[in-house]
């Protein structure tokens, strides 16, 4: 039974990593840029939710707070693109990496300024409830996290693969100039994808805040989400979720069965192994670049 408890908590954690990784992958798929601030965006989402929902702050009803949080996060994502990323279009990838890292610093600073540096958790109706399945007690938060993540991944997968807008996004990243010629409004498409990734970060933030406490440095788990995205193959949405699950499941088992000190190495060691032996990830989209 112990095994299943570890597995479920690992899966739930992995789903949060997977959600952050989804944010990376979406932006990478559509704009070919990597958003190193995605973890901090999730942190911001969690704090906005706490700001709307908790009785210490505005104390709005739970459902209203969720809707408002997602709207705010969508707006934040759109503004990041409109004010920052659109101006550096065409710059080198290093410039964009550094820009988003700096953005993460700034977000951490403002979150600390507004909500303080002490850890806070979200008051939510699921807290403390358990689901009993044949002798295993599952926290309702964990169940909610898993369900929401799977639903979101499936929805995004079909959005990118089947809808006109999703295909336009892929086209815009694969060849910007050709996409312009085909009449795709590339700038508007990119603004939309950033707004969407803001919303996904908001959802990840809300789920994270229901599971544990949040402080301005929470965004650093974005690094583990990187590992997830790389293991899944940057550019594949189901791969991102799978990578998140791998990282999430490895963690509790490593800390259980490996000597102390070695366990926290496991996710990063796995990341390096994947990068060395299969740099394009498990669900590869990479092919050799021609001249």
């Amino acid at each position: 039974m112990d095994f299943f408890q570890l597995l479920v908590s690992g899966i739930a954690n992995g789903c949060v990593y997977g959600l952050i990784a989804l944010g990376f992958v979406m932006i990478y798929k559509a704009t070919e840029a990597v958003n190193f601030a995605q973890g901090d965006l999730m942190m911001l989402g969690a704090f906005v939710m706490i700001g709307f929902g908790n009785t210490d702050y505005m104390g709005l009803p739970f459902g209203v707070a969720i809707v408002l949080t997602l709207v705010v996060m969508g707006a934040v994502g759109y503004l990041i693109d409109r004010l920052l990323l659109r101006r550096v279009a065409g710059e080198s990838q290093t410039a964009i990496i550094i820009l988003t890292i700096a953005l993460g610093f700034v977000m951490r600073f403002f979150a600390g300024l507004i909500w303080g540096h002490s850890p806070q958790s979200l008051e939510n109706p699921l807290a403390g409830q358990e689901l009993h399945l044949g002798g295993i007690a599952l926290g309702m938060e964990d169940v909610a996290v898993i369900l929401v993540t799977v639903a979101l991944t499936v929805a995004l997968f079909f959005f990118f693969g089947r809808t006109k807008l999703g295909l336009a996004m892929q086209a815009a990243s694969q060849n910007q100039l050709a996409a312009y010629y085909m009449g795709i409004p590339v700038k508007r498409v990119q603004g939309f994808i950033w707004a969407l990734s803001g919303v996904v970060a908001g959802i990840a933030g809300i789920l994270f805040a229901t599971k544990g406490s949040v402080d301005p440095t929470t965004g650093l788990i974005g690094i583990k989400a990187f590992a997830a995205a790389v293991i899944g193959g940057f550019g594949s949405l189901p791969g991102a979720l799978l990578g998140g699950l791998v990282i999430g499941i490895i963690e509790p088992f490593a800390s259980r069965y490996m000597p102390a000190g070695y366990s926290q190495i496991a996710p990063y060691a796995l990341l390096l192994i994947v990068l060395v032996f299969r740099p394009s990830g498990l669900f590869s989209q990479l092919r050799n670049k021609k001249v």
Binding site: T94, R108, N175
Partner: protein, 365 residues
């Protein structure tokens, strides 16, 4: 404007374009050597810190600025250099041997790490080096018998036979040690850049495909760049350990890696000057913030307020401003100002305009 009509290859690879530039740099070096007589010990300590950061910046500049390989893991090499030097000293090796050896060991480790990293490019390399930087923290804890782990290591005074140098007791002597190191590193760096090796670095940065077509061995060049860059960074790490006096697994965190990369971007990627300008910004920003907080406090009439995380917030904003408005960094801006002055009144707005490029995916072609 001074126009140079180059008539020979010898003239093309000269360190200094003309006597005037030679005079400027010579006076800068003389000023640097006279500095202990001009400022007090506190600011001399700050200056030493800036110079150490500049050594680290030179190390990363070689890899990122000139070979085009973005590394988010150079704090790992700082740590390796720092621990290599201090462990060697602990076993009785003298400074003269231990210090260069620390650089060589770090360079060798960097070269080994470069072998798998050669297959990665762009973001993948950045992520892999970042993961390595995180791992080093845990590895230091695991190798506690040598490295001291969480409780850290103390740096003994530097023993130069006739004199014991440490950062607090003899700040002037320590400043001179750092100054000599950075002068040697800078000369070596400038020398590499004008050699075929340095030119192949730049060729790899600008286009791997065309570099290969010109007969540059990409793998060998990248490995050499990694080795040199890590070696110099290792030297900076050893100096940093001596400067702080005590260090442990958290001293060289991934945040330092990020800070290093940001430093050379602010200074100006792809120039030796950039590493120095960036180090000045990094070194004096905390001082500047605490002074300006005092001013703001005086203006409001209250005491200075403490805002946790202010330093990183301001740093992030400066960096965003640079990437948006001056991607070439402080040195790039200086070049523009200098050209404006030299050409006055004929400077045109579009002189430094870069060609617009459109994005194409790296995945499907």
């Amino acid at each position: 404007m001074r126009v140079h009509f180059k008539t020979s290859y010898e003239q093309d690879i000269r360190f200094f374009e003309d006597r005037w530039t030679l005079f400027l740099y010579a006076s800068l070096v003389i000023l640097a050597f006279a500095l202990p007589y001009l400022i007090d010990d506190f600011y001399l300590g700050e200056m030493t810190n800036v110079l150490i950061w500049a050594v680290a910046g030179l190390g990363l500049m070689l890899l990122t600025g000139h070979t085009g390989q973005a590394s988010l893991g150079h704090a790992a090499f700082l740590a390796m250099g720092c621990y290599a030097y201090h462990i060697l000293v602990k076993y009785g090796v003298t400074f003269i041997i231990a210090f260069p050896l620390a650089g060589i060991i770090t360079g060798g480790l960097g070269m080994i790490i470069a072998i798998p990293a050669l297959r990665l490019r762009g973001i993948y390399l950045a992520i892999a080096t970042m993961a390595m930087s995180i791992l080093v923290d845990d590895i230091i804890v695991l190798t506690a018998p040598w490295s001291g782990g969480v409780s850290g290591m103390f740096s003994d005074p530097l023993n130069l036979y006739w004199i014991q140098i440490d950062r607090w007791g003899t700040p002037v002597a320590f400043y001179y040690v750092v100054l000599i190191v950075i002068v040697l590193v800078t000369i070596g760096y400038a020398n590499i850049l004008r050699s075929p090796t340095g030119r192949s670095f730049v060729a790899v940065r600008d286009s791997e495909v065309s570099a290969q077509a010109m007969g540059v061995d990409i793998a060998r060049t990248k490995m050499l760049s990694f080795a040199l860059s890590c070696g110099v960074t290792g030297l900076a790490g050893a100096l940093m350990g001596m400067f702080s006096g005590v260090f442990n697994n958290e001293t060289f965190s991934v945040v330092i890696s990020v800070q290093l990369l940001m430093m050379i971007v602010i200074g100006g990627l792809g120039s030796i000057h950039g590493a120095f300008f960036g180090a000045i910004v990094i070194g004096f920003l905390p001082q500047f913030l605490s002074i300006s907080k005092g001013w703001v406090g005086d203006m409001i009439g209250g005491s200075a307020v403490a805002i946790p995380g202010l330093e990183f917030g301001v740093f992030g904003m400066i960096l965003i401003a640079f990437i948006l408005f001056e991607p070439a960094g402080i040195y790039g801006r200086w070049i523009k100002i200098r050209t404006w002055l030299e050409l006055f009144p004929f400077y045109r707005k579009g002189m430094f305009k870069r060609q617009k490029s459109f994005l194409k995916t790296e995945r499907l072609q």
